[in-house]
Amino acid sequence: MLSVQSLTKKFGGVAALAGCSLEIPEGQITAIIGPNGAGKSTLLNCIAGAVTPDGGHVRYLGTDVTGAKPYILARNRLVRTFQISRELSSLSLLENVLLARQNASDESFFDPILFPARVRRQQDADIDKAMKLLVRVGLEGLADATPNILSGGQKKLLELARALMLEPRMVLLDEPAAGVAPPMVQVLIGIIKELHQEGVTFVLVEHNMDMVSALSDQVCVMAEGKDLMSGSFEQVASDARVVEAYLGGVL
């Protein structure tokens, strides 16, 4: 569904990605793990269009999307969340979710003036959908609040709800468990599992091994900007190269 071929990206003199290749199969949860500085977040940013890679290719649904703008990917139902939650701070929770609806009139100044009934009808339907998503992540009581009052875990849930509003085929999750209290991690795992059963493909960059082992069908290990190996969680956990990558060959 998504394939990454020998992607490279340098920041100054440092090669964050040094020829990384990956295959993400449809309908699975693929976890990307690796020590700090392995290039996981850069890889995600390159796939999602936030960072333009120096070389290599990203193909999504058979099309080359290397360096495509994030909004193009989002309109093709590929959406990402952020490592540090980036909620829109002056929009209410409802508006945060509603923003992710896919509708061309979101960018039209004249539509609401010329076709008020149609715009209102669409918006009402979308509000209904957004409220259902907020109910699903348990934030419906805070729909009118702004995100600054949310806990770290609630912000992740809000990001997830926002991503779901897009009706995504593929969701890139950048450390969803980072800064989230353990009980909330279980809630997140539950919701991601449900969505997976509904057919959403996930890519998960994560350090929390409980989450990785609970969710992933396939685990890819990255080290020094390259893909090291991939396999099931058990295979990866027992592989000598992975242990070496994490511990720097000290043992």
């Binding site: 909004y71 002056s90 923003l99 100044f109 004249f110 539509d111 003036i113 509000i127 209904d128």
Partner: protein
């Protein structure tokens, strides 16, 4: 006194329109525009040139809207590749270019002498006696139309997208919003509104010259938007009125305090306005009114489902 009040209210209407433009560009979309006076001048000169050459009221206002909207789009497009802070420099530069062109291209703009004799709309029908009141009426109606249009357009999806771009453009883009297009549109809409303001200014004075379009015009718009609350069209009407009230009410200081001479009063007026704004920012940093936020429907969707089935 009536004539004085009428003139002041007409000028407030024009100031409110300029503030509307800034509110769309900066208040909602987060793009600073220090070249507002240049846009207003562009609108005023467009209107003046067309109506001096026989164009009617609607034609010249419409032309001013189009010219300023296109110019707004161009200014935002050329500065899009630069980092956002540079937009301040680009717009400042744009304002200066317009000022220099109006000052030096005498064949077109009359140079420092300006363009006199701009025909005021329907003056032969209304007559000169009550014309100022009639013109104020036109201004108020136009402000009303622009206000209603902006409220309708920006309370819905378009305004929400602009506010998302202001808060975090990467998130807005990740959620499928074409950020570049939204920014250009915000600047074009704002540009169009400054075009209207420029038209009204030209018709109000029936004479325009470069000295009417100074940086203080831009400063008043910023004051109105900051005082009123970034993003709130209602707030900025209040903000513009309070700034203008402070500005005009302090004129009468000299009648109350007779120990000061005129030049001292003039200086004190500006000090008082500054102090008023500072006090407002200390006690109400978010401005007088908050921007519009969509409210969640009262009935929860689950209960709506149960009633539907």
């Amino acid at each position: 006194m009536i004539a004085y009040l009428t003139t002041i209210m007409t000028l407030v209407s024009i100031a409110v329109l300029i503030a509307f433009a800034l509110n769309v560009q900066w208040g909602m979309c987060g793009m600073v525009n220090f070249g507002l006076a240049g846009f207003v001048a562009l609108g005023a000169y467009t209107t003046a040139l067309i109506s001096l050459n026989g164009g009617g009221f609607f034609v010249s206002v419409f032309a001013a809207i189009i010219v300023c909207a296109v110019m707004g789009a161009i200014v935002s497009l050329i500065s899009m590749r630069l980092s956002e802070d540079y937009l301040a420099v680009v717009t400042l530069g744009f304002g200066e270019i317009i000022r220099l062109v109006t000052l030096n291209e005498g064949w077109l703009t009359g140079g420092a002498l300006g363009l006199p004799g701009i025909p005021r709309p329907m003056i032969d029908v209304i007559g000169t006696d009550h014309y100022e009141v009639f013109f104020l009426g036109i201004c108020v109606v136009i402000v009303g139309i622009v206000f209603a249009g902006l409220e309708i357009a920006t309370r819905g999806p378009f305004g929400r997208s602009l506010r998302a771009v202001r808060d975090d453009d990467l998130v807005a883009s990740s959620l499928g919003k074409n950020v570049l297009l939204l920014r250009v549109k915000a600047f074009a809409v704002g540009g169009g509104i400054t075009g209207i303001a420029g038209s009204l200014q030209a018709f109000q004075f029936s004479y325009i010259d470069p000295s009417q379009f100074t940086a203080i015009m831009t400063a008043y718009a910023f004051m109105a938007v900051i005082a009123g609350g970034q993003g709130s069209h209602r707030g900025l009407i209040l903000g513009a009125c309070s700034v203008m009230f402070l500005l005009e009410a302090t004129r009468f200081l000299k009648d109350v305090v007779d120990v000061l001479d005129n030049s001292q009063i003039a200086a004190i007026r500006l000090i008082l306005i500054g102090a008023g704004l500072i006090l407002l920012l200390i006690f109400r940093p978010q401005g007088l009114l908050r921007e519009y936020r969509l409210k969640a429907p009262k009935s929860s969707p689950s209960s709506a489902d149960s009633t539907a089935t």
